[in-house]
Amino acid sequence: MKTVIDAHNISKTFNPETIPVLAVDKVHLHLERGEFTALVGPSGSGKTTLLNLIGGLDKPDTGNILINGVDITLLSANALIDFRLHNIGFVFQSFNLIPVLTAKENVELIMQLQHSKRASIEKRVRALFQEIGLEDKMQTRPAQLSGGQQQRVAVARALAPKPQFVLADEPTANLDSKSAANLLDIMAKLNQEENITFIFSTHDARVIERARRVITLVDGQIHADTAHVETNVAHEGFSTNK
């Protein structure tokens, strides 16, 4: 299996000058292509911070993060933006679609930033909308879509530039159970059929159940990892929606 993410000894402290909060504490993480991984843990355990560090949205205070062999902690701000554009897909908890653009335009935007050709954008976007089952909603603006539909569009947007992996921060938190299940079906299918790597931060037991690997964070440290120990960590030390 090909290594996608290799993080060594990464730490992140917020407000180091005033009231220091150690959000991620000497974490080592190794993820391979095609994994369907859930980062779980109680609120404040460092899930979102770890995702931000892996995604290059934030810089660690210590340690290295290698994505496909490239140490992103050494990249300049501009190089990091470019790296994210071509290698990392993001799905946010509150969808974050641009309200004035249609669903199709939201997905196209990322490929336009990559300077993809018009024809290939059209082809890719149509295929993605077919994949997420929203072909008939391509010209609809986000406000006219349900929460579940918006999150599916967000998944299509994350996948449009053919990233190395997709980071999803609490993707089902704002969805009803039917929409959440539908979204998980789509992501699981993409993972299995197209070998796309997904990493979620989540509280949602439904996501944890579907994950093939579950990493539990407590106080910024990896408390358990089913890649190393086959235990059901979903019920260990924190509550879920289950």
Binding site: N52, A77, N78, I81, D82, R84, L85, F90, R157
Partner: protein, 377 residues
């Protein structure tokens, strides 16, 4: 844009109205005097070759009307007080043609050639001296031989112009009457010439000066230097007005665009997270300002044009709160704004430049947003 154009239109309208008043009702286009007359208004300095000048003026096609005036400085006295005045001897028909005297009379009648001792006084002087139609007064002055002389006059009419200091200082009597007191016969001290159009002033002056080098021939710019100063500094005043408006505009744009950036912090953070580079974010905010400006400038221009078009005929009456102050400076209390075509290009360039410069700060703010922080908001 609207404010800039409208304020400039108001200013230009005021200046043009003042110039028109100066030419059409006060000093005419050109005046001819004895070269020493204006030093101390000595009645002895009459225009000697008046008939010769008069004949020559009839041959100039650019001349619309001519008035021959005699004048002196004197004291106006009533039973209750006195005031220093300039006494102007006029022929009513000539004065109506050159300075629209009849139109200025608000009470009583114009001078009657048959009533030798009629006098026209300004509204401000009438109020100050508590004079009304039919009241008697005495004018005291010196004749051409420096003897003090006096004459009794009866108020025939009260006039009012947009220049209250002028109204307070000038009284008008029949020229023949004044001349008889001054002992100057049929002579005059001033020839006021009104031209067909303003552009001919310098040409007519040059030609008259060549023919009558012994006389002092001055244009309205020389006879009303304060108005000339006002006209020649219109660009500087306009620049000051534009700078003040642009400062307000800059604050407005910075505020609007900063709010726009702050309201879309998450959106900008998301775009940066997904891979939109800083140059594109910068251009995004800048482009929004440009679009707002491109929409705003024509709209501002159009609304300013419509507003000015309306008020250029209807006028803006400020008499209720600033009439006296405006009159004190020689301005009318009704302003007729004029579309400032000459300043239009400059204003547009300055507005667009100010908009772009003002958007730099919000644009810089946008590119400094950290995606992780922005997404947390």
């Amino acid at each position: 844009m609207f404010a800039g154009i409208f304020v400039l239109g108001l200013y230009e309208g005021m200046i043009r109205a003042r110039v028109r008043t100066v030419i059409d009702t006060e000093v005419a286009h050109i005046q001819i005097h004895h070269p020493n007359f204006k030093d101390d208004y000595d009645p002895a300095f009459t225009i000697a070759g008046q008939a010769q000048v008069s004949g020559a003026l009839r041959t100039v096609k650019d001349i619309k009307a001519v008035a021959y005036r005699s004048m002196t400085q004197g004291m106006l006295a009533t039973a209750t007080g006195s005031a220093g005045v300039q006494i102007n001897g006029i022929i009513p028909d000539e004065e109506n043609a050159v300075s629209s005297m009849k139109k200025k009379i608000i009470e009583g009648d114009e001078l009657d050639l048959k009533k030798k001792n009629g006098i026209l006084i300004g509204k401000k002087l009438a109020d100050k001296m508590k004079l009304s139609i039919g009241n008697k007064l005495v004018l005291t002055f010196t004749d051409r031989e420096n003897n003090i002389t006096a004459g009794a006059f009866k108020v025939a009419g009260i006039y009012q112009t947009s220049n209250s200091p002028l109204d307070e200082r000038n009284v008008f009597v029949n020229r023949a009457t004044l001349n008889s007191y001054l002992l100057i016969g049929e002579a005059c001290h001033e020839i006021a010439i009104l031209l067909v159009n303003d552009t001919a002033v310098e040409g007519v002056k040059q030609s008259l000066q060549q023919r009558f080098p012994a006389y002092s021939i001055q244009t309205w710019r020389e006879n009303s230097p304060e108005t000339d100063l006002m006209v020649s500094t219109i660009n500087q005043y306009s620049s000051i007005i534009i700078v003040i408006i642009m400062i307000a505009l800059a604050f407005g744009i910075v505020n609007t665009m900063l709010m726009s950036v702050l309201e879309r912090t998450r959106e900008i953070g998301m775009l940066t997270a997904l891979g939109m580079n800083r140059v594109k974010v910068f251009v995004l905010v800048l482009a929004e300002t440009v679009i707002l400006t491109l929409v705003g400038v024509p709209l501002g221009l159009l609304s300013a044009w419509i507003t000015i078009l309306y008020f250029s005929t209807a006028g803006i009456d400020i008499s209720s709160f600033a009439g006296a102050a405006m009159s004190g400076f020689g301005f009318g209390s009704i302003i007729y704004p004029e579309f400032p075509i000459a300043s239009l290009q400059t204003v547009m360039i300055i507005v667009v430049s100010t908009a772009l410069i003002s958007s730099l700060f919000p644009s810089m703010k946008a590119i400094k947003l950290q995606p992780a922080d922005a997404l947390r908001q």
